[in-house]
């Protein structure tokens, strides 16, 4: 992502980088990752009030800054780089993008709340992240009132959310509902996660009262998820950038056998391969973002392409960073494993690389047939 930025974008990036360097040092990340909430509400308030982070891509009419998807991705790149503990991904990106795309009018209040720093979570996955095969039960009450029964899994920031946006299967399609997290019939359980810096929860609905935000919401949900997938790519590119810088710096400094280890081809070529992957990952992300912004016909497939490429590349980079660091790389104390855990988690959130490649294959097959 972070090449050929405008001056304004560069300043936004620098501001965020400075902020997280101060607010999210390693010790703070480690403290917060052992909590259920996973972030510090005071810091989130500052991010909201001073930097307007959660509203960066929310329309000005809803109290946001009204910037484009590009700005959202730029911010995600910085949170991914810093492993910043915040509900930015869960609330502003996942819930925010889906509501903005699927229910821009009915979701006005919700978008305003997100922009104002309320934590809103998207309840989407059941067995996995595929929109086909959802099994949540919706019982209609009156008008847009309904009650929900079933379980949503892997809900990002599900435990700290005040409200939930629920993707629900109905006859003939998908509807979008809003549920108060404190409502009767809602039970949440924080999951122990490989990536402790991103909080996931299971949410059990037992006749929980819900308000419909949108009918026939599938195209909108898909567009929102495409944006969230792109932000996830950008977040991973940010982490990748941090990881490769760390590996390069160590290879330059660390000496063994009288030489910097980066002079050995085993290390040099590994880093060269990572650099190639990095160029590929950020280019793929940038092109898919631009295609999405321009609403090109093949934007959807480029999102899947970028996600598959970036997911694998980031995992590879996080692994190799530790290998280059040798013994010190696999200590608990070194942050390298936090990035590996993030890379592994990100590679499976919203569908794994195999799922996204299968979507590419489907599109290629349909076009060729």
């Amino acid at each position: 992502m972070s090449f050929s930025l405008s001056e304004e974008q560069q300043e936004f990036q620098a501001t965020l980088r400075r902020f997280f360097a101060a607010a999210a040092p390693s010790a703070e990340i480690r403290r917060l990752m052992e909590t259920d909430r996973g972030h510090d509400p005071a810091v989130w308030r500052t991010l909201t009030e001073e930097l307007g982070l959660p509203g960066v891509a929310i329309p000005e009419a809803c109290g946001g800054q009204g910037f484009s998807l590009e700005a959202l991705c730029l911010a995600a790149e910085e949170t991914g780089r810093a492993l910043a503990p915040s509900p930015f991904f869960g609330s502003a990106i996942l819930a925010g993008c889906v509501v903005a795309q699927a229910a821009p009018a009915e979701g006005h209040a919700l978008l305003s709340a997100i922009a104002g720093g309320e934590v809103v979570a998207l309840a989407l996955a059941e067995r996995d992240f595929d929109l086909d095969g959802l099994a949540l039960q919706v019982v209609e009450r009156s008008g847009d009132e309904a009650s929900l029964t079933g379980t949503k899994r892997f809900v990002v920031d599900g435990s700290s959310a005040q409200r939930l946006v629920v993707v629900a299967p109905v006859a003939g399609g998908i509807d979008l509902f809003e549920v108060q997290a404190s409502a009767a019939g809602v039970e949440r359980r924080t999951l122990q996660t490989l990536d402790r810096t991103r909080k996931l929860a299971d949410v059990h609905f037992r006749g929980a009262p819900a308000r419909r935000l949108a009918r026939d919401a599938r195209p909108g949900v898909e567009r929102g998820l495409a944006e969230a997938n792109l932000a996830l790519c950008a977040e991973s590119v940010g982490g990748f950038g941090r990881v490769i810088e760390s590996a390069i710096a160590y290879a330059r400094e660390r000496r063994q056998f009288g030489r910097a280890i980066g002079s050995f081809q085993a290390v040099k070529h590994k880093l060269a391969d990572l650099w190639i992957l990095f160029e590929g990952a950020r280019t793929a992300t940038r092109e898919a973002v631009l295609a999405q912004v321009a609403d090109l016909a093949d934007a959807a497939v480029l999102v899947h392409a970028a996600r598959a490429y970036v997911a694998d590349a980031y995992v590879q980079a996080a692994f190799d960073n530790i290998q280059v660091h040798g013994g010190v790389g696999f200590t608990w104390e070194m942050d390298a494993h936090l990035y590996l855990r993030r890379a592994q988690g990100a590679a499976r959130l919203l569908g794994d690389a195999g799922y996204h490649r299968e979507q590419v294959a489907r599109w290629l097959g349909a076009r060729a047939a």
């Binding site: 030489r259 081809q265 040099k268 060269a272 280019t283 793929a284 590419v360 294959a361 060729a368």
Partner: protein
């Protein structure tokens, strides 16, 4: 994503387009893409046709867009060259090997040649009245080019050259060659090299085609036996050859990095899989999607280079990054293709799917992973040049060439 043309660029593009429509055949006849037959006669015919098209371009003022008008160039910028190339891609024309050989030698002559050399050589070069081959590599000087041994001795009668060159593309077709010789074995290896301009019709030069793994004959061995070269045909003076060679290699690396980016084939493989009823195989679907994604990534990296050049900036992606990714994704693609062909992958030629196109592609991977510098050498370059990692110790840099193990004396 495409950068949009400026107003001037759009006007230039329209002018190019209009000229091409008047002078170039449309895609369809197909000679521009069908030139790689493996018989000497077919190769000669292909070379002649490329030459004729370069002459047409030159006479119309398109033959050397970025070179000075003084030597028959257009004095334009790289953006104009790119626009011309983009437009020409829709027509059934090519200059084949010639434009890349011009791209290598012309900048070297401009930067290091004497005024007399520029006067004598540039115009016939640009018009392809004289075509040029590159006489650099040797059996013992591949990745380590500066280890070359081909001897060039300067006396009052001029240069006398003895030795052998290898991997000389199109030597059998060219009138001239630019040649690196070892002119002084008593100084360190990089300091004792001279850059000569050699008439390939001089007695004592023998060209032997060197068929490659596919049976193709792009390359040659060239043997020099007491070949006389006029004293004034040295560029940058005796012993001054290495900087000239470096300039040539820099242009070669950029050209390799950017010329093959539209590395298509993935979509053809999808169609082939569908036709053979194998597209439902999840393993193949994953492999084909991966291949297609990698092709797109390569294309986008090419776009980044193009956009930076259009903006007058240095290339935005390192040439070696693209070269390695291109070479290896090409290798992976042929693996997928052979898996897709199944038992029929055992066949070749007339009996094989598409006359053995993919089998040939599989064998030809070394044009990418070895040709134009091995991927290992390019990875060193990425590590050192791009990432700033330290070089390895080089025991060969400070010693007189004659003293090196593996040098001329053993």
């Amino acid at each position: 994503m495409r950068r949009e043309d400026t107003k001037e660029e759009a006007a230039f593009r329209a002018e190019v387009r209009a000229w091409l429509e008047a002078h170039a055949p449309l895609i369809g006849e197909g000679w521009a893409r069908a030139g790689h037959a493996h018989t000497p006669a077919a190769e000669q015919a292909w070379f002649d046709r490329c030459r004729a098209w370069q002459q047409t371009l030159y006479d119309a003022g398109w033959g050397a867009i970025t070179l000075p008008e003084a030597y028959g160039g257009r004095g334009g910028g790289p953006a104009q060259q790119l626009i011309f190339d983009e437009e020409a891609a829709s027509f059934d024309v090519t200059t084949g090997f010639l434009s890349s050989s011009i791209d290598l030698i012309a900048p070297a002559l401009l930067a290091y040649g004497t005024e007399a050399q520029k006067e004598r050589f540039l115009r016939p070069l640009l018009r392809a009245d004289e075509t040029w081959c590159q006489l650099f590599s040797e059996p013992d000087a591949g990745s380590d080019l500066a280890a070359l041994r081909c001897r060039g001795e300067l006396s009052e009668e001029g240069w006398r050259v003895n030795g052998q060159k290898l991997w000389t593309t199109s030597a059998q077709h060219c009138e001239w060659g630019f040649l690196l010789v070892r002119s002084d074995p008593d100084v360190p290896k990089h300091a004792g090299i001279s850059f000569l301009l050699v008439d390939m019709r001089t007695p004592g030069i023998e060209v032997r085609p060197l068929p490659t793994i596919t049976g193709g004959r792009h390359f040659n061995e060239v043997f020099f036996t007491d070949v006389r070269v006029p004293a004034e045909n040295v560029v940058n003076g005796p012993g001054g050859g290495w900087p000239v060679a470096r300039l040539v290699l820099m242009h070669e690396s950029v050209s390799i990095g950017t010329s093959h980016l539209r590395n298509d084939g993935a979509e053809a493989l999808v169609e082939l899989a569908i036709r053979r009823g194998r597209y439902e195989d999840p393993l193949l679907r994953q492999a084909l999607a991966r291949t297609w994604i990698e092709e797109r990534v390569l294309g986008w990296l090419g776009d980044r280079i193009r956009d930076s050049v259009l903006d007058g900036a240095p290339p935005d992606v390192d040439g070696s990054v693209v070269k390695v990714l291109w070479a290896e994704s090409r290798a992976r693609k042929s693996d997928v293709a052979l898996d897709l062909l199944g038992a029929e992958a055992m066949l070749e030629g007339e009996d094989a799917q598409g006359r053995g196109y993919w089998q040939n592609y599989m064998l030809d991977r070394y044009m990418g992973t070895i040709g134009g510098g091995t991927v290992e050498v390019h990875r060193n370059g990425i590590g050192e040049r791009v990432l700033g990692l330290p070089r390895e110790a080089r025991p060969d840099r400070e010693v007189a060439f004659r003293e090196l193990k593996g040098g001329v004396s053993d």
